[in-house]
Amino acid sequence: MTRPIPLLLLGLLIAVPLSLLAGRVWLDPFAEPVPNALIILTELRLPRAVLALVLGAGLGAAGAAMQGYLRNPLADPGLFGIAPGAALGAVLSFWTGLAGTPWVLPLFALLGAGGAMALLGLIAGRTGSALLFTLAGMIIASLAGALMSLAISLSPTPFAMSEIVTWLMGALTDRSWREVWFAAPLTLAGIALLLKAGRSLDALTLGETAARSLGVDPRTLQWLMIGGVGLTVGAGVAAAGIIGFVGLIVPHLLRRTTDGRPSQLILPSALAGALLLLVADMLCRVLPLQSELRLGIALSLLGAPFFLALLLRMRKDLA
């Protein structure tokens, strides 16, 4: 079933040009050209839109694959501890005062993500059990979180502290082509790995033993998941900080449009994640606030009521 894909493509077709025009300075193609319109378009709006698309696609695909892997509709790509690992790396780059140097922050973040991935593989990599894997992810997440708090509390200057805190909230403000150049290939490679895991995720619908009887190698699957989620989430955090809820909401909304197999959910989730992040970022830009609303905060504000609605529906089903 590919019903949602054409609709999502149509949505993107409308949203992308709109996002290029919308912002603090509106670019009206039919009016008198704004000064510096070309620069705003090519150096600010376009990289930002591309980055939103890429990161949203990565988060959506990672969420769909995670939910399939853990066989849980409430699983989130953050569960593996890769996002906190990447964030820890980024925080350390602020802490050491090197964040101002180009490439250092994303490099540190990617190293953090890589470290979390290696730890995951080391702790749980031998059995291929999803339960152990999740627990390992939670250990890594809490450890990275604690170290992050430690780094913030010991931060050398109040300025560094405020920089860290702001950055952690996640945003696409003032991102340039540089972020696109490293985030796009990594994210696309990650999505490719997740798509490759699709068949095994389908088999996992029947439980781990039955999946093995269908020829699934749990360890190969685990490496595909570590690689896929690590690349998409790691690149996302390195480029934009922590952006939650996309990987949770998107697959959930789309599940009913598929035949229920996890493999069929990955691509639509990537498209819908791209669309969601693009639109959310556009709204952040045009909302008439004193300073721009942080994207990470906006999505969390969106995510909480979504979660509540989900819970209420589940409660009704249980009653």
């Binding site: 068949r199 088999a203 039955a210 009887s213 269908l214 020829g215 035949d259 229920g260 197999r261």
Partner: protein, 272 residues
């Protein structure tokens, strides 16, 4: 497959598909395990199973029945010993090849997502790479064998227990295995569905499949199996025709229950 064909015709057709690939149903295939050990669960089990037979694995709780089944299916790494499928070492088979030849039906019918009967059966085709046409034919055949054609678009959550059990079995059959290993397939089914399912298993053995069932109901094993393997504390204590393997003496020794068989062969009842 819209017009209902008599069972025998369907049998021939499913044999034809199976033949010519790496597997062949009419061969006298064997599944052999030699002194396999799993620490704490199996202690040196050796048995030789034949295709065309329904073999029941019986034993009290904790005797190692499920462990033996998953070992025979090649799903657990053995501490020692070996499993051979038609003479080939199970552990050295390619995963897809093994998956095509040995179908495994787990005890708990876990289903993470609420998929339709047809999609479920389609999961059985995952080890195959023969194109959509072959998949469709195998799925249709499995659904019609299990009389699920009318329910094919129904989600699993909307099925009764018996329909669900049939759908799960259809998933394994869609994979066109030579061996069907099922862990307590009769659990949670009422008597009529138990009998219907056992009839299916008998028919499959008649088609040339090797059928291995973990069974709790000794009377069903006595009446419907060609062969019974009795396990106790990870060891084989009886192996042979049901009449011998499940004799009153064995039942007294293994289950600690003095019971008597009443009735004719094929319709025996166990009286405690």
């Amino acid at each position: 497959m819209s017009n209902p064909a008599p069972t025998s015709v369907r049998v021939e057709r499913s044999r034809d598909t199976a033949r010519g690939i790496s597997t062949s149903l009419d061969a006298n295939g064997t599944l052999v395990c030699k002194s396999i050990e799993l620490p704490g669960r199996l202690g040196g089990v050796s048995i030789t199973l034949n295709q065309n037979e329904v073999t029941a694995i019986c034993g009290p709780n904790g005797a190692g029945k499920s462990s033996l089944l998953t070992s025979l299916a090649g799903l657990v790494p053995l501490a020692s010993g070996e499993v051979r499928l038609d003479g080939e070492l199970m552990a050295s088979l390619a995963l897809d090849d093994r998956a095509r030849r040995v179908g495994y039906l787990p005890q708990q019918a876990e289903l993470a997502w609420d998929i339709s009967v047809e999609t479920l059966a389609g999961l059985g085709r995952l080890p195959w790479n023969m194109g959509i046409e072959a998949d469709r034919a195998a799925i249709d055949r499995a659904l019609s064998d299990m009389q699920l054609e009318d329910l094919r678009f129904r989600p699993l959550s909307k099925l009764s227990g018996g329909e669900r059990a049939r759908a799960m079995l259809a998933r394994v059959l869609a994979g066109e295995p030579c061996w069907l290993l099922a862990d307590e397939p009769l659990a949670n089914l009422d008597l009529a569905h138990q009998i219907a399912l056992l009839d299916h298993f008998r028919a499959l053995a008649g088609q040339g499949l090797g059928v291995v069932l973990v069974l709790h109901d000794l009377a069903q094993a006595m009446n419907r199996a060609d062969r019974v393997v009795v396990l106790q504390q990870g060891r084989v204590v009886a192996d042979g025709a049901p009449e011998q393997a499940l004799s009153e003496a064995v039942i007294a020794k293994v289950w600690g229950v003095s019971a008597r068989w009443l009735g004719e062969a094929g319709a025996r009842a166990l009286v405690i």
